[in-house]
Amino acid sequence: MKQPPQSESPQDEVPEDYLSRELFDMVHVYIITKPELQNKLITVTALDKKLVGCPVCIEHKKYSRNALLFNLGMVCDAKTKTCSLEPLVKKLAGYLKTLELENGFVSNESSKQQLPKLMEVLLKEINESGKCTLPIDNSNTINLKVIEHRRTPATVQEYEVPVFTQCWDYDASQWDLTTQQILPCIDGFRHLRKISDEADVELNLVRIAVQNLLYYGVVAIVPIFQYSNVYCATPRLQLLAEDASLQDECLTYITKPGYRKATLRAAFLLYSSLSPGTTVRDLCCRHAPHLQHIDERKLVQFGLMKGFIRRLHKIPLKLPAEGRGKISRWFNGCHCYDEICCKKGLSYKELEEKTEHDPGIIIFWK
């Protein structure tokens, strides 16, 4: 906590003297700043430390120098990723500014004494649990939480399937109403359109709810399962050969309930046999013995979730007649069978008939 400028040193520090005088001298211009930089989140790195702060300036005649400038900042290790702390710092700055405007919390000599105590609580609780409740006085409490910054996931298509990443013991009441309604429909086989129909929730709402779950890693997205699907192995299959706990997880997941546990060799052979040109149906025919005690749907699902296999999509393209003729809306080489079937309401067979009988259509698998 710093105030300018006659005392060019931190007024309050928790823990005490954490910032060396040297460090403070180097960076004070970024902590108590010119008016132009007020209310901006400033992060500066120096001497193996990173400081995140948000300077606040309140102009009023009652202050000496007609203005009060202060900044409550956080000091971390230089290598820390501090973007998740930024909303916290901003919120604190906002709160302190309001408290000061309302009852002079920051400038008042007596209430100022509370600050080191509050900062101690803040430091301890944020470090321990990532959240903190700061009671200021009878009517004011500040609640803070460090939110982990995650990557925004890609848009989920209506023909894609959400599957739980692990056996979640979730408390449904923690989720919003839409999510609560669709949760029972998520079984790793129903795609968004089907979930929307069965749960009676509008498609876009389902999409938003699923994307939210995806963001928090509760679900992963896999393609629709059909026996006509084609998959192929990826280099990640090597992990199955090396990681014993992964092997256990896999074999438990894919074994049909009531049957003896599948062997690693069987699982590996099945995954390796999935290749371009081989549908799941072909696999079932060729490896019937192995599949007596292995559920092929779960096999595929596990393989997709862990990245051992990937789906090869079938994409039709109708070559235009001479020159740059009109190109077909759906057969322009950008839409896979899944998407066309879903959006046009066709079954795989119906679409297949259309493309088989048209000599001008070529097929990609990728």
Binding site: I42, R265, P276, L319
Partner: protein, 566 residues
């Protein structure tokens, strides 16, 4: 991205109370990295940066001297400033001034400078490191020139003069006026423009000191995706003598882009390189050491001029890449039709949907020209990362101990070998066969894809040559004597139970190749190190398929060949 130089003079000079500062800001677009563009598209980059006045920029971008000489990183809301502040005080400079009383040599007053780049706050962290490197290189060059002939001071004077002139006309930016007058300003603009477009920076500070830099995020940009800097470094680490070099552009245009002082070895290499020849063969042909060829090849890959591939031959299996753009009127489609009249890209790509060896794409009735054209088309597709090559990997995986034993928990696992791979140094140090046993024997046709087959030298001799007892060898020296000793009792029994194990030759070969059956080395690797023919290997694998698991996929050791979706 905004490029700015801020210069700080000691407070004593200039009119009392007024700090003499100057900043050049050439505004423009900011790099769009993986960080989402959708959220902050309301604020253009010009807004983000013009929100800062020149004065405030000068204040925050000229740090205290203690912060000089290291990475300068400051984030203000949505803008991240990256630079390398550099002190100019040097003992010699003040002494040199005293020694040289010529009136032209003024006492330098500049104490520090900082070349700063402004990025979006959520830019890829690796980008920050690279930009900092560029800033540091520029700082070194500028400092040198300042000490040598006070280049910075002179340029700063010119810029200040221009600014003062424009000061009279308020509201107008002085920068347009500065550009024609100051070489440094033009250089900075060129750096900025190049970084935003090609990612390649190559210029001469003060027409004297060269600064060159390459931003991998831009240099390795592919039409339908991107290649991460880590993929490039990983591929470079995994170069092997049996790899080939694929130039990503025309040989002539590449040669013309090279700077005048380029090493003649590099030009020689570029002239003779072909995707059909291994680096080893190139070394022999160009009379250069293999190590040097590998280094030059790495250099070309780093600068985005080439890629490392497995040499083209008939037995290679290629497949359509999952990130290839199959839109009927993609940019690639247009180029393809121009390059290969009479053929269209979609049909060609569709042919590769099902992976088959290259030899099967050939039309046996076609004339030699058409055969050669197929090779050119494949090369064209590889250059644009539209195709991936599939390799076969083998894993030892014996059946379960007891079929009825469900709960024993004895999950079979392949024997745990050390990392299977010989380093480039090792392969270089040992003598290697003259040619590689890759591909099928040449059938005398004009495809000229296959390399001739060598005689298979004795197994022990060649293995010893490769130093299998070395640090990186798959098994320790002792185990080499009997690789079967690293296996469990059960595994040994299963292998010996295979009918083919009765044949001593087969068993010997299997035992010799056992260290490679850990799933980390593809067949071509095995063929190279162990000097076995593909047909031999495939037969052996077939005989012992009861204890092996075989799979096919792209080579994870060369991630630069595959791009991630954008």
């Amino acid at each position: 991205m905004v490029c700015s130089v801020s210069v700080s003079k000691p407070l004593q000079t200039g009119p009392a109370g007024r700090r003499n500062r100057f900043a050049i800001v050439s505004g423009g677009e900011v790099e769009e990295q993986e960080g989402d563009c959708s959220e902050s598209c309301l604020l253009t980059d010009e807004h983000l940066v013009s929100g800062f006045s020149d004065t405030i920029l000068a204040t925050i971008l000229a740090p205290k001297s203690e912060l000089c000489g290291k990475k300068f990183e400051l984030k203000v809301d949505d803008v991240r400033f990256v630079g390398h502040a550099t002190l100019l005080q040097h003992e010699n400079s003040s002494q040199a001034c005293k020694a040289d009383p010529s009136p032209k040599r003024e006492v330098p007053t500049m104490i520090l400078f900082n070349v700063v780049f402004a990025l979006r706050a959520h830019a890829d962290p690796s980008l920050i490191g690279y930009v900092h490197t560029l800033s540091r290189r520029l700082a070194l060059a500028l400092r040198r020139e300042e000490w040598r002939c006070q280049y910075l001071t002179r340029e700063a004077k010119v810029m200040l003069a221009a600014q003062d002139e424009m000061g009279a006309h308020d509201g107008e930016s002085p920068f347009q006026d500065v550009l024609p007058k100051s070489k440094l300003a033009r250089d900075l603009k060129e750096i900025y423009d190049n970084l935003c477009s090609t990612g390649l920076v190559q210029l001469y500070i003060n027409n004297w000191l060269e600064v060159s830099f390459c931003l991998p995020h831009k240099v390795h940009k592919v039409e339908s995706g991107h290649v991460s800097p880590e993929s490039i470094s990983r591929s470079l680490r995994n170069i092997r003598p049996y790899h080939a070099l694929l130039l990503l552009g025309e040989c002539k245009s590449l040669l013309s882009e090279l700077p005048p002082d380029v090493s003649p070895a590099l030009s020689r290499l570029i002239k003779i390189t072909t995707p059909m020849k291994t680096l080893q063969q190139l070394a022999l042909d160009s009379d250069l050491a293999l190590a040097q060829v590998c280094q030059l090849a790495s250099h070309l890959v780093y600068w985005g001029k080439a890629n490392i591939i497995f040499p083209l031959c008939e037995s290679n299996v290629y497949m359509l890449s999952s990130t290839a753009d199959t839109y009927v009127y993609s940019a690639n489609a247009e180029n393809f039709s121009q390059q290969f009249p009479g053929h269209d890209l979609p049909s060609m790509l569709a042919e590769f949907s099902l992976p088959t060896p290259l030899v099967e794409h050939r039309n046996p009735l076609a004339n030699p020209d058409q055969q050669a054209q197929l090779v050119h088309m494949v090369v064209w597709l590889l250059q644009r990362r539209l195709l991936i090559q599939l390799h076969t990997y083998v894993c030892l995986m014996v059946p379960d101990a007891d079929e009825s034993d469900a709960t024993s928990g004895t999950v079979c696992r392949p024997p745990v070998f050390l990392e299977c791979g010989l380093s480039t140094q090792e392969a270089r140090a040992t003598s290697v066969p003259n040619t590689l046993p890759v591909g099928s024997p040449s059938s005398g046709d004009d495809l000229t894809l296959a390399s001739p087959v060598t005689e298979v030298t004795s197994a022990e001799a060649s293995s010893a040559e490769f130093g299998l007892g070395g640090e990186d060898s798959p098994v320790g020296a002792g185990a080499y004597e009997n690789p079967l000793s690293v296996l469990t009792e059960h595994e040994r029994r299963c292998i010996l139970a295979v009918p083919a194990a009765q044949n001593q030759d087969d068993l010997r070969l299997f035992t010799r190749l056992l260290p490679y059956f850990c799933g980390r080395q593809h067949l071509e690797d095995v063929m190279y190190h162990e000097n076995v023919r593909r047909s031999q290997l495939l037969t052996l694998l077939d005989k012992f398929r009861g204890v092996l698991a075989i799979r096919t996929h792209e080579d994870p050791a060369l991630p630069a060949l595959h791009c991630l979706p954008s």
